[in-house]
């Protein structure tokens, strides 16, 4: 059990000027499930590998518990990692795979077998212990990789996109299994994914990265309700938030700037972010005039893709609504549902 701290942790790759991870500062309290999320190349996996000790730390430091582990080899960090491809040894049985780290650590055979058996029962793998990984399904392999991490009883779990090789249905199922397992074990967990739904549903807190820079680290609700900048606003939430360009003087009806916001602006332009569910449909004359281009019926919800003079907006309406392609509608932002950002800096304007 331990907290994890990144202090100005920076990582360069050979021949690239821009750091892959740029002065990352993160403080993960003991027992938290933290998700690192971002598009590919944002530095999330590199951050995880720095914490694992598989990558060096060029500047700054990394701490696990009381210890500065920046220069500690991976094996000495009291961590366990689940790889994207599970990294199962194809020539070893499930039992040998789960017990491999214990064997290397020099644990005697009877203790090892006991631990492997416990982990296998926890993960519903007991009947497969003698099988080779090639004879297992994707979900079972994933659980073997989990088992190998669990038997180490580490202070921190590291997971690098552990669900990305599963099909969609299994992914949803395994997602909840991992989250509940982590809550039961209470072990600090750092989890990397590119999938914002995974991040939002699993994490106690979510850290969003872009181009090696931490954008925001907050609870899922915090991220969703108060995105710190345009990038986070567009990245979190599905379908994505509508981002509209306006000048401070020509804002649409129902949206206004407080004096504090106005004084925080660095230029004349404002980005107004509106989530699909934050629109109200009204008469064309009463709101932003739009033409319905595509109607996506999901049963419980309906998404309208509406053409407006400067782009296409996504609007969520209740399922089975009577909208048709070609309908003219008016759109109005629900009260207090607009997110305002400075166009020049991309930062959120103060509330």
């Amino acid at each position: 059990m331990a907290e994890v701290i990144f202090k100005d942790a920076t990582r360069y790759f050979a021949g690239v000027d821009r750091p892959a991870v740029n002065s990352l500062n993160l403080d993960v309290p003991d027992g938290e499930f933290l998700v690192l999320v971002g598009p590919s190349g944002c530095g999330k996996s590199t951050s995880l590998r720095m914490l694992a000790g598989l990558e060096g730390v060029d500047k700054g430091s990394i701490h696990i518990g009381e210890r500065d582990v920046t220069e500690v080899p991976p094996a000495g960090r009291d961590i366990a990692m689940v790889f994207q491809n599970y990294a199962l040894y194809p020539h070893m049985s499930v039992a040998e795979n789960i017990g491999f780290h214990l064997k290397i650590a020099g644990m005697n055979k009877t203790d090892r077998e006991k631990k492997v058996r416990e982990a296998a029962e926890l993960l519903d793998l007991a009947q497969y212990l003698e099988r080779k990984p090639a004879k297992l399904s994707g979900g079972q392999r994933q659980r073997v990789a989990m088992g190998r991490a669990i038997v180490r009883e580490p202070a921190v779990f590291l997971m690098d996109e552990p669900l990305s090789n599963l099909d969609a249905k299994l992914r949803v199922q395994t997602r909840t299994q991992i989250a509940s397992l982590q809550r039961r074990l209470g072990t600090t967990t750092i989890y990397v994914t590119h999938d914002q739904v995974e991040a939002m549903t699993m994490g106690d807190r979510v850290a969003v990265l872009k181009e090696g820079v931490l954008q925001q680290c907050d609870t899922p609700i915090g991220l969703f309700a108060r995105p710190a900048n345009v990038f986070v606003a567009g990245f979190i939430g599905s379908p994505a938030m509508n981002l509209l360009d306006f000048t401070a003087d020509t804002l649409p009806s129902g949206v206004g700037l407080t004096p504090a916001q106005r004084s925080a602006l660095t230029g004349p332009d404002v980005v107004v972010g509106v989530r699909p569910e934050a629109w109200e449909t009204v008469n064309p004359v009463d709101g932003l005039e739009a033409v319905v281009e595509v109607v996506e019926e999901l049963g419980s919800d309906q998404y309208l893709y509406c053409k407006v003079p400067n782009g296409v907006l996504t609007v969520r309406t209740p399922g089975m609504s009577p909208w048709q392609r070609g309908d003219r509608i008016g759109l109005k932002v629900k009260p207090d549902q607009a997110h305002l950002f400075d166009t020049a800096t991309g930062d959120r304007l103060p509330d």
Binding site: A52, G53, L54, P73, P74, A75, G76, I79, A80, M81, F83, Q84, N85, A87, Y89, P90, H91, F100, H101, I104, A105, K132, A134
Partner: protein, 303 residues
Amino acid sequence: MGAIAAHVGRKRRLFLPFLVPAMALYVAFLVLPTLATVVLSFTKWAGAGDTPKPNGVGNYQQLLNSEAFQFSFVNTLIYVFAGGVGTFVLAFLFTMVLRDMRGGKVVRAILFFPNIVAPVALGMFLGFVFKYQPHKQGLANFILTELGGTAQKFLAPDNVTWVVTASLIWASSGFFITILMAAVDNIPPYLYEDSDLAGASPWQKFTNITLPLTWDVIGVAGVLWTINALKIFELVFVLAGPGTYSPPNRAWTLGIFVFDRTFGSNGTPDFGAACACAVAMIVLVSVLVVALRRLMRRDALQY
């Protein structure tokens, strides 16, 4: 699907025309001569001008009693086993280092280079390196005496087998490093990363990952080694002898024995004995390859 089915049918009609030229040459120049050699090994035949006469197992009895054959047999086994162990140990040691070494590709190319040199040229070149002649010492003795040692007769019949073994290990390791490294490069890097997390030492990584995951390629490489080491001829012929006629018996290999009995540079030709020795070679290679395959057998590995 009709087009494809018809296509497969038409293709099959080409099977024989495509295969026959290669098969015909193979049978005429490898299968039949091998059978002829087996038959001739049971005859007494001096060579050109003589006619083969049935001789039962006479040639084989003669072989077993021949000191030259005993030397040849033992030396060949030394090359196969001592050379093989040395080459593979060296190759494994190198794979451990080369896996994550910068500039590894260049190093691999340099290590491979002795393999493109003609064995005859390599033998002559090594002859210079190991030359013993006061005031005209070869490279090895030059360095040895510069360092304050005494010059050694590396190429004397008693030493030459071991000098050739060492040379063989040096020259062949590049080839086997190349083959093994290709297999090692196919091992997913995350397995080594996981073993880093476990705290595995290089030796543990080797025994737990590299060795089991390259096992099949090692088997193929072992067969290639056995085949090549068993027919070693030029290198020993040039290094151990004066170059134009056979070296002393003490340094012979089975390949030299066949050559010598065929061309009789040490007396008259004896085709019968040469054929018997050739049969011994093919029996030995079969036994070793089958034994190696059996030793290396295990379930096919799936990722």
